[in-house]
Symmetry: C2
Subunit: 277 residues, 2 copies
């Protein structure tokens, strides 16, 4: 029940109709007795630069979940961005720190990483390939770097985007072995499809699945169906895998910790959410 004492988390994006976070966070807040609420606010691009600083001046707003189309723009409005956000080039979580500065982080990739770790795979020292250097691919690459992988392959058909990501990775993680330009999955411990391939019927697979070793862990970002053609092919080869929505649910505990609402697990969130996939 919302009151004047309830802490508000602004969910900023446009359009709002497909927002999922309120149906995940709010039931959890209620279950745990946390007096907080996620409120969708449909901010258009032309208003965002003016709105973000003002919404943080509201006395009962403690944070913002940032989604499309504002994740990149948010970066220029922060007083401080985390390394992960800097490498991703985007931010999906903002809060005020104790001195009132706006600090931002990026948890899309953290969700991916937490999911992999929770499935018992080691990332420290591993070799990972991320195919697709757009928003979600950059975020996953940034979080894999933070998680301590030793070698990180990045690939995008659009070279400037791929090279930009590789450059930011090298700047932030000087000892990381960054390989840009190949999407051959052979030799990698973890491979990820971070392209939209799999959204539409008849899409080609994002990489040559025949060259994925059975012991390689395979991740997917497409959420259109739980088992995409890419995951089906990898599963047929015996690979362990992670579906797209795991990334979604696994990142929410990171958000909750960031905002100071305590900790939880993706399983608990899935159990209380009033949506499913």
């Amino acid at each position: 029940m919302i009151s004047g004492k309830t802490k508000v988390v602004a969910h900023l994006g446009y359009p709002t109709e497909s927002f999922k976070a309120p149906m995940i966070y709010n039931p959890w807040f209620e279950k745990r007795g946390v007096d907080a609420v996620v409120v969708p606010m449909g901010v258009k691009s032309e208003d965002y630069r003016a709105f973000l600083p003002l919404v943080f001046r509201l006395s009962n707003v403690v944070g913002a979940l940032v989604t499309m189309p504002h994740k990149v723009t948010t970066m220029e409005l922060l007083d401080e961005a985390s390394t992960t956000a800097t490498v991703a080039g985007a931010c999906n979580a903002v809060k005020r720190d104790a001195s009132g500065r706006l600090v931002g982080d990026m948890f899309d990739g953290e969700g991916f990483v937490r999911g992999v770790l929770r499935k018992g795979r080691e990332l420290r020292g591993a070799k990972a390939l991320v195919v697709g250097s757009g928003g979600v691919g950059s975020a996953i690459a940034a979080s894999l770097a933070k998680a301590g992988v030793a070698r990180l392959g990045v690939f995008d058909a659009y070279a400037p985007m791929m090279d930009g990501l590789a450059g930011r990775l090298r700047a932030a993680y000087p000892t990381l072995d960054v390989a840009a330009g190949a999407r051959d999955p052979a030799g990698y411990d973890v491979v990820v499809n971070a392209t939209p391939l799999g959204m539409k019927e008849g899409d080609p697979l994002p990489m040559d699945v025949e060259r994925i070793a059975p012991e390689t862990f395979v991740g997917e970002v497409v959420m259109k169906t739980e088992i995409t053609p890419f995951l089906a092919a990898a599963r047929a080869r015996g690979c362990a895998y992670q579906v797209g929505t795991d990334m979604l649910f696994e990142q929410i505990p990171a958000y909750l910790e960031f905002f100071g609402f305590g900790s939880t697990t993706a399983d608990e969130l899935r159990a209380v959410a009033t949506i499913s996939y």
Copy 2:
């Protein structure tokens, strides 16, 4: 349950801790299956002029409930103010009209008027005295004028405020008999305490209760206790009366109609509200 399709009513004021509207509106929305939510937003005065236009640019915000300290400032931010708001000099409800203009109204006094009417009293052609020409007194006077009283007495110890109200009443209602400067309740059909007297122990009564006729209807705005010393004295004389919270609950149906959420009654609202007085 809030989703990205939920219509948001921004509840603008500062501080938010004592806000009551969410606990009245939101249970009613839920009961009626209206996909809308009242969300407190603690806007400070220095941010208000920038924030109000921006919050109305959010795609899912359909209106604003305005409370302290912004009711007066809101007037200068509207594209169009109702006559009631203009006379009151303040606005507590804002919406976008079909062409996107910001239009404002003032329902504090409407709540008072609806309460009186619902108790079976006639206001058209009546004589009413409002003691106190501050925010709430001005709002009640404005709504009594709109309701068609024939004579309206206004009084405030601070003459410029009283004279300002009298002037606005005369400008908007040229045939209304406006009498400023006396708080003698004799001869009035309706008398209202719209001063803060009764908030503190030992406060003097706002007018000479001995001169209130038993058939006069007596209204009160102080909500600190249900039966204030003023109401107790009037009741002892046999007067019918209206308590402060009646005004609060009676005005909400007016708000809901203004925002397009349908109609209800104060009784239904009291029944579902998760607060009581």
